[in-house]
Subunit: 172 residues, 2 copies
DNA sequence: CGATGCGTTGATCGGTATCAAGGGGGGTGG
DNA sequence: CCACCCCCCTTGATACCGATCAACGCATCG
């Protein structure tokens, strides 16, 4: 699923993607406005807030776990702010591919031809770019033999070291 | 204080500012790299991790509080991602001034000539802009009679409604 | 077979970065 | 007490990256 915020005129910022087993809507106050939308077939499991909170009270370690998750998300958000505020288009795409690669590896899914479930427009709205720039940057990386597009949604990372150095802001 | 992340070549993104009574370094894993630096005279109170965690165990409501704080920060981070990814320079400055104004009001400090403790360079690194653009945008808002610069670090917001509509992406 | 949506590519525009210069205020040393 | 210096801020000129506008290919689906 994609999590996003909108401006009145329709500009959109995707603030994150959710994968299987991720949680949604944990903030206690219902005052934080954002939207969520499935990008692949999705099954959702709903908890009633009251019952969920009772559960937390009965199992304090669960609450610790949630705090850990929140902190992880916070760290990811800070990384994304660095990306959005200071990285070039090429660096953003490289960071994005690397993140997908690592996430897939951590989750035990195929990590090198990396599977990209979202379309170009979603990628753009996640990275603060237009779809055209996303497309052009993929083409550029392809021509430089850094990646190979096996299909629109499956990309092989040919040189992880180079991708990493680009993502970190060294590789021009 | 300012919290920031750096790229190897020195590009900097300030991911947030801390005010009196805010906490720092709560993430359990010490694996998240970021820096913090005081921008005004600062007194810091240090807790030993072990003792702090014991405290949390003894007072579960404290842990709930921390979870709430983390969620608030997460919401703020998402708002900032929207700003960094999709807002224009003018919209970013307007959002920034509005946020300082609301924060000051919530903390019972002077909120209309709003006090700006950080310098232009810090503001730029927080909003993903250059110092020159920050300066030019202040000038622009001043010429439009939307704000008045009573000093470099004290700005009067002359029309909150207009500022809000700019910040939300309506006011051109 | 036409319609529709997504992705790519090309041409041009514009907003912000960058490069450069100068002003002002506060602190320090003579 | 004054002069100098340094840092921060502002302003101007120019460059460039990415957005925007536009057209087209391609696949999917009705």
């Amino acid at each position: 699923m994609k999590i996003y915020k909108l401006l009145p005129d329709g500009r959109r910022q995707i603030t994150g993607f959710l994968f299987a087993s991720d949680f949604l809507g944990l903030a206690q106050a219902s005052t934080y406005a954002y939207s969520a939308e499935a990008i692949t077939r999705t099954d959702v499991c709903r908890f009633r807030r009251k019952e969920f909170e009772d559960l937390l009270d009965r199992f304090p370690r669960l609450e610790k776990k949630l705090l850990g998750v929140a902190n992880d998300e916070l760290a990811a958000a800070q990384e994304q702010m660095l990306l959005l505020g200071r990285k070039s288009a090429k660096e953003r795409i490289a960071s994005f591919l690397l993140a997908l690669n690592k996430k897939a590896a951590r989750c035990g899914r195929s990590s090198n031809p990396v599977w990209i479930p979202m379309n170009r427009s979603d990628i753009g709205d996640y990275l603060g770019l237009s779809t055209e720039t996303v497309s052009r940057t993929f083409t550029e990386l392809k021509l430089a033999r850094i990646v190979a597009l096996e299909s629109n949604s499956k990309i092989r990372l040919l040189d992880l070291d180079v991708i990493e150095s680009i993502a970190d802001g060294n590789g021009a």
